[in-house]
Amino acid sequence: MIVALSVWMTLAGQGELIERTLAIVSGQVITLSDVRLAQQLGLLPDIDRSADADTVLAGLIERTLMLREVERYAPPEPADTLVAEELDRVRSRAGSAETFNRTLQANGFTDGRLRGWIRDDLRIRSYLSQRFAVTAAESNRQDLIADWVADLRRRAVVVVLGR
């Protein structure tokens, strides 16, 4: 429907669709740029960069749900060095510095915003390792996390637009 709308708008001379909301998770917005950026820089570790937009959006929704829960417990701040290391990894995935900067710009991201994203990822990781012991069998642990996320989803208001 989005495409239909954007194509129609374009054809009708109404301009190019450059940004829009795709989902709202308990008041937190996920935009078209978020999806693009996650695809282009591989920001969702468990989702391949070539994954389709639906999969990426679903991953972003689940990340937002987890982050909301993590905020409630205020896990310790990740060390600056960890953030910097992770940032370097993201930069390297972009290829050149120029591509990296252009990708950020095109999607409304700044270096600070990306740092914030990485910081949140590290906090989620820290929370998960505390809550779901890494000593458990990995498949079992994944099941437990999946159940937890499903429960978060049941309790949250998630509006997926563009259907």
């Binding site: 954007s6 989902a23 693009r36 991201f109 600070g112």
Partner: protein
């Protein structure tokens, strides 16, 4: 990070569209970036939006280059506002300028379901169904959640036996675009009914169980209803002593689900009986020590706790070696729980002393030893004392001090008829070195200067080291950081003790973390309220730190406005971490996180109507023959109040209050109308219209304008008054209020009971009087409860002046002051002492008035000149009266007075001087009932200069209080301790009975 695979429901969204649009749009976005914005339009439903509150959130501005960062931030602001669901941004090149770009914001309002229409054969009340929806989805769910309504209702019906309900929804346009009506069509289908039910369990009366659970054949299979009845039945069994009772219900269904066969498993368990053996326990403590009946349980933990309770109780009584055990036995269908208490010998404290203290004097330690020789000895009391002495040492810096009680039990003695063992206690103190704080250093405080952190520290160089203070200091510093927006700040202390233990250095390590700042303050939910009014009360400002105290203060202030049913402040994260320094070299110094703050409000109804009624009962002076008699009077009364709040969105309000009482009146003593017999009627009323303007012209106080008409029945006259009043009041802190007011009114006296010849001149010359009064008041009220205070004080002074130069016909100055104090006695039970004194002084300004005859013609004197009278009294409506349920309770209302303020028939004239003093002892409430004893004294004096302690009239009495939801219901019986004979020859009453609401003062 371990992310799980997305759920299938999410995968259903935005499939092909995003793939296509993401790829194609990227190139377009890049081509627009950096181009100058020549036009920015905002559209809602196809129309341009010009609402300033929204426009100011759009961060893409004409003349600036297009930045996707600004676009993204704007979307976050708009979504945070909670008014828009879908937001789309379109860009196109400009024909006016080659490097120009025009931007179009298309906002799709969030549509909420305001009305739910239920159609079909519901099977349940619409209210039940709406409650089920509201419980799960809120009162006004978003229209996009319509599908969830189906889920909720399906669950509801399935639980109640409708196994295949057909539920459909349809959204219909509402009165505004933001609201919709959800039409729900319901076909519940066939309902499962009970085909049969059986009960399993030993010694169970099946018929009684099925009847209690109402599982008759043909009845609907309704799970919530059955669960509720099972719960009641199980509770009944436990109340009857079957503390292990358990009831389970299971059902099997026919293939088509139309019928259910129910099986009830009842495990009643044994009847539990508690037996006490061994040494006796007081009857009134047994249920507390062994709380089986209260807890309705014989859980093993409970039984063990009960044994421990018994042993602890006996040890507290001096039986140092007391023990308690329990045995659980099954005897002929009963479970007998036998608790056996063994007291052992009684121990009594014979002496206690302290040794080893040198740095702390005996005089400091002895107050901590509340043990008396001869009292029952209990180890835990001695341990408590030792802990208190240890703490004293700790506070003074002796971190290693050890206080060890040495307990010596001596041979058994007998005093009276009870043998006991004397115990001597010696507190052996090893003080150790006194540790003082050495250097205190602070590391890591960069965003907040050390100058701000250091004053918060209680442990500073030279002070004795006290470990809890270290924790308190850490909390204080963390609180400072949190209030400055450093939400994840961590503060730790490293300590280093010198070799001899006398000096301890403290190093504070502060890890500040990022600072959270407010980006935008968004207000949603204001329909009638001006958002500026809301913003004025918000202590959070854009660009400033998002601190905890500011958040709480904002919430408190908004709630205090009284305009909102619900106030929620939500932080909306957006953006990321921004480097504190613009210097790229320091970009790693992550410093700020931006948050939009959403103030989500739900407005309260603007119009409220309240009404009520009651009956007032009391004694009042009535004319009987030519004498004033105290008669019991019943006066039904009612009130109606209509308020309209938040006028013009600025928290202004108007209120109309009407109150009327049906009371008897007596015709005046001069009445010559034979048809006027007085009697019951709407003789007392009050109509008050009030306009309230909070903080006019940005002032800090509140203004109130009032117009009133009232008529009141008093003891020696009735009056009718109408007028207007303007008042400005300002609060200084939570307790102090200063106010000034101007009142213009006309008062007419009628039905006067005092003979004309003894009536005050002012009442004769001015039976209708116009007053123009300026009043100033200062009131400090620190009571913990206005209706039933136990702590605090009220101090107030109120001074009014009504000079003729501003329009009064009679001038006077009047001041009333009051002081009430409330203290809780240092007793275990909460006794309260309340005491107060009220003093009133009034002085009339002299005025000459030409004397006139009955026809209004001036009376001439012997010299042929008009005769004049000098009026210097205060008008009746402004004079002081006393006696009654809130002043001196040995007298009926207004009956208190000197010979100069009561006429020969006993009617009060009122006076210019008043003193009332009260003292009252209030008992704690027991089952809602409390008692008081009181002593009151006071009198009303003709002139302020007549006030004399000798003429104070005393009374005493007692009363009962019932703690009702409206405040204490009060019944007092006052005794006149100094009964006097009135001029008429009658003697004053000895006792007076009062019933009222609220304490007397």
């Amino acid at each position: 990070m371990a992310l799980v695979r997305p759920s299938p429901v999410v995968l259903a969204a935005v499939a092909l569209s995003i793939v296509l649009s993401a790829g194609s749009a990227r190139a377009d976005v890049i081509s627009f970036l950096g181009r100058t914005l020549v036009d920015v339009r905002i559209e809602v439903n196809g129309a341009a939006l010009v609402e300033p509150g929204i426009v100011q959130l759009i961060e893409t501005r004409v003349g600036e280059p297009l930045s996707m960062e600004r676009v993204r931030e704007t979307i976050e602001h708009l979504v945070g506002l909670g008014r828009f669901e879908d937001i789309r941004v379109f860009a196109e090149g400009s024909s006016l300028r080659a490097d120009g770009v025009a931007l179009r914001w298309v906002l799709v309002p969030l549509q909420r379901i305001a009305v739910i229409e239920l159609a079909g054969s519901l099977g349940f009340s619409a209210a039940e169904l709406r409650t089920a929806i509201a419980d799960r989805l809120g009162a006004r769910p978003a229209a996009s959640r319509a599908s969830e309504v189906v889920t909720v209702l399906t669950d509801f019906y399935v639980q109640r036996g409708y196994r295949r309900p057909q539920i459909g929804t349809r959204l219909a346009a509402g009165s505004r675009t933001e609201v919709a009506t959800l039409v729900v069509s319901i076909d519940p289908g066939a309902r499962t009914v009970i085909d049969g039910a059986m009960v399993r369990g030993e010694n169970v009366n099946s018929t009684a169980v099925l009847s209690a659970l109402r599982l008759e054949r043909g009845r609907p299979y309704d799970v919530p209803a059955i669960d509720a009845r099972v719960q009641d039945y199980e509770t009944g069994l436990r109340d009857a002593g079957y503390y292990e009772a358990n009831v389970d219900v299971a059902a099997t269904f026919s293939a088509d689900g139309s019928t259910a066969n129910v099986t009830v498993d009842v495990d009643r368990g044994p009847l539990v009986r508690v037996v006490f053996a061994g040494d006796p326990l007081p009857e009134n403590r047994r249920d507390t020590l062994v709380p089986i009946r209260q807890e309705r349980s014989v859980d093993l933990d409970l039984l063990e706790d009960a044994s421990r309770n018994i042993a602890a109780f006996l040890r507290q009584q001096g039986y140092r070696a007391a023990a308690a055990t329990y045995v659980r036995e099954e005897r002929s269908g009963e479970m007998v729980l036998t608790f056996t208490a063994t007291r052992g010998p009684l121990h009594r404290l014979s002496a206690i002393d302290v040794v080893g203290n040198s740095a702390v004097a005996d005089a400091d330690i002895l107050p901590l030893l509340p043990l008396e020789p001869g009292e029952a000895f209990a180890d835990n009391r001695v341990a408590t004392v030792a802990a208190a002495v240890t703490e004293l040492y700790r506070v003074r810096g002796f971190a290693r001090a050890v206080v060890k009680p040495e307990i010596v039990v001596q041979a058994e003695q007998t005093t009276g008829d009870a043998p006991f063992r004397p115990v001597t206690v010696r507190l052996m103190i090893a003080e150790g070195p006194r540790t003082t704080v050495g250097a205190v250093t602070i590391r890591g405080a960069t965003q907040l200067s050390e100058l701000r952190v250091r004053p918060l520290l209680g442990l500073i160089e030279g002070r004795p080291f006290y470990r809890p203070q270290l924790d308190a200091d850490r909390d204080a510093v963390e609180r400072l950081y949190q209030n400055e927006g450093f939400r994840s700040a961590r503060v730790d202390a490293e300590t280093a003790l010198s070799g001899d233990g006398t000096v301890l250095e403290v190093k504070w390590n502060v890890r500040e973390g990022p600072r959270t700042v407010v980006d935008h303050v968004l207000v949603s939910g204001t329909v009638r309220t001006n958002p500026d009014l809301v913003r004025r009360e918000i202590a959070l400002l854009p660009g400033q730190a998002l601190g905890d105290d500011a958040l709480i203060e904002s919430q408190r202030r908004l709630a205090a406005l009284g305009l909102f049913r619900r106030v929620r402040i939500i932080e909306l994260p957006h953006g990321g971490l921004d480097a504190a320094s613009p210097d790229p070299a320091q970009a790693d110094a992550v410093a700020t996180i931006s948050r939009d703050v959403l103030i989500e409000l739900e407005e309260a109804p603007s119009t409220t109507v309240s009404y009520g009624g009651g009956v007032e009962a009391g004694r009042r002076l009535r004319r009987e023959g030519d004498q004033a008699q105290e008669q019991i009077e019943l006066a039904p009364r009612g009130f109606l109040e209509i308020s309209r709040r938040n006028l013009w969105g600025k928290n202004r309000s108007v209120t109309l209050l009407t109150r009327v009482s049906i009371r008897p009146r007596d015709p005046g003593v001069e009445s010559t109308d034979p048809t006027d017999q007085g009697g019951y009627g709407f003789n007392e009323y009050r109509i008050v219209g009030t306009f309230r303007e909070p903080r006019p012209f940005d002032a800090t106080g509140d203004f109130q304008f009032t117009a009133f008409v009232e008529q009141a029945i008093r003891s020696s006259f009735n009056f009718n008054r109408r007028g207007v009043r303007g008042e400005y009041a300002r609060r200084f802190g939570p307790a102090l209020t200063v106010s000034g007011r101007y009142t213009f009114d006309r008062t007419r006296l009628f039905d006067e009971q005092i003979q004309p010849e003894v009536r005050l001149l002012v009442d004769r010359v001015f039976p209708r009087v116009r007053l123009s009064t300026l009043t100033g008041s200062v009131l400090r009220d620190s009571r913990d409860d206005v209706l039933d205070p136990t702590r605090g004080a009220v101090v107030g002074i109120d001074t009014a002046v009504a000079p003729r130069m501003i329009g009064s016909e009679v001038g006077f100055v009047k001041t009333s002051s009051q002081l009430f104090v409330y203290r809780r006695l240092p007793t275990r039970a909460a006794w309260t002492v309340a005491a107060g004194v009220r003093v009133g002084i009034a002085v009339g300004f002299e005025r000459t008035v030409a004397r006139r005859d009955e026809d209004g013609v001036p009376v001439l004197g012997p010299d042929g000149q008009p005769m004049v009278d000098v009026v210097d009294d205060v008008p009746a409506s402004e004079r002081f009266f006393a006696g009654g349920d809130s002043t001196v309770r040995g007298f009926v209302l207004d009956r208190l007075g000197t010979a100069q303020t009561l006429d020969d028939q006993g009617f009060p004239t009122g006076g210019n001087g008043l003193v009332v003093a009260n003292v009252e002892l209030r008992s704690p409430y027991w089952k809602g009932l409390g008692g008081v004893g009181f002593f009151d004294a006071g009198n009303v004096f003709r002139r302020a200069s007549d006030i004399s302690a000798v003429d104070m009239r005393p009374s005493a009495g007692f009363g009962v209080r019932y703690r009702s939801p409206l405040g204490p219901l009060r019944v007092d019986l006052g005794f006149n301790l100094d009964r006097r004979v009135l001029a008429s020859g009658a003697r004053e009453r000895g006792t007076v009975f009062h019933i009222s609401l609220g304490q007397a003062f």
